[in-house]
């Protein structure tokens, strides 16, 4: 039994190392893709360029992403899983709108920690409109994932079109609005924390969008 345990621990360490390595390679490819496209535009960059800059083969590239667009957009499938995990881990009995706030606040923290990277990403999106369909597909995936998590909390099927769809779509919209405000603030010292902007939006949602003058 002791031997098995040691082997399992060693196996877990291997797995941890392999996962870390994968994570690093993925991050290096995303970084290289974003930097290159920010400099040369989407049309001026190939998968080979990105792979070379990240010091891996094109074959390795395709282990992580199916196209250069996906490498630039990067995180969203990860984001969908992170948000769903946060929502599943939220205390039972917490109102759905607060569960959504909690999960999206954690996501906002991830963006806040890499503000410059995200602002660069948004500039690249603006300048390369052909990324739009990919961006939308990812946004839709995040929204579906949130919708399924809401449905699970209220005891509906994952594709339920009533409350789960509305709550998920509205929460994702509030997140998008907070990000737009956050990106519009260009002052370095005075730039707001995305989590505060998200909280402000969720305060308004939870209160039923009261007129600002009546607050």
């Amino acid at each position: 039994m002791g031997g098995v345990k040691v082997r399992n621990l060693a196996g877990a360490a291997d797995l941890g190392r392999r996962d870390r390595k994968k994570h690093e390679t993925r991050a290096a490819l995303e970084r290289a893709a974003l930097d290159l496209v920010a400099e040369h535009g989407l049309g001026g960059v190939t998968v080979e360029d990105i792979s070379q800059a990240a010091d891996v083969s094109s074959r390795t590239f395709f282990n992580y992403f199916s196209c250069k667009e996906e490498a630039i957009i990067g995180g969203p499938p990860v984001m969908a899983a992170e948000i769903a995990d946060s929502m599943a881990a939220a205390p039972p009995g917490l109102p759905v709108v607060e569960v959504l706030r909690l999960a999206l606040r954690a996501e906002a923290g991830r963006l806040q920690r890499r503000r410059e990277w995200w602002l660069l990403k948004m500039r690249v999106f603006e300048r390369n409109p052909s990324l739009l369909p990919h961006l939308l597909a990812n946004g839709a995936e995040v929204e579906r994932s949130v919708q399924a998590a809401v449905a699970a909390r209220v005891g509906d099927g994952p594709g339920a079109l009533g409350y789960p769809m509305l709550a998920a779509a509205v929460a994702c919209t509030a997140f998008r609005c907070a990000v737009v405000r956050w990106a519009a603030e260009t002052g370095d010292a005075g730039a707001p924390d995305l989590r505060d902007l998200l909280d402000e939006a969720f305060d308004a949602l939870a209160a039923g969008l009261p007129d600002p003058s009546s607050e």
Copy 2:
């Protein structure tokens, strides 16, 4: 004076006739564009085909639309103006969320009266993903118009990124969710009225998105 009045009335009648004629031509072009693209796909239809089917010249087509995609998407710039007008006409003192409900309910009524036309439109959008950027641009225009109307009601500038952006984006999202539910209902007799689905969404918004079990 009497003579001037008569001339003005005659002028108004002329104007009314011209406007009606314009409206009819526009509607005929939209109808032709949608029918042809539903049958042949976007790639299989030209501006000439659409103009011919609507019995006008291509030159006339371009008085109304800048490209075939615009003719298929049709109404949204009209929609943006209609919603803004409804919002401006809402009683002063009415809470913003109810102003939004009122304006979007009127829009929902317009969709409800032409349910089959809108369902065909949505099928054409799904089958021709290259329409997506045009559709998004129109959606963004509607949202900006709603945002400006909210800002005007709460005394903010038209591009205000706080409450006006959030309220406008959330209201448009609620509209979109109601439309998705409406389109998913295929039963002819039992299909819900879009205005009822929109009301349901706005009831939830105005109440702060309470959990359905706690209602």
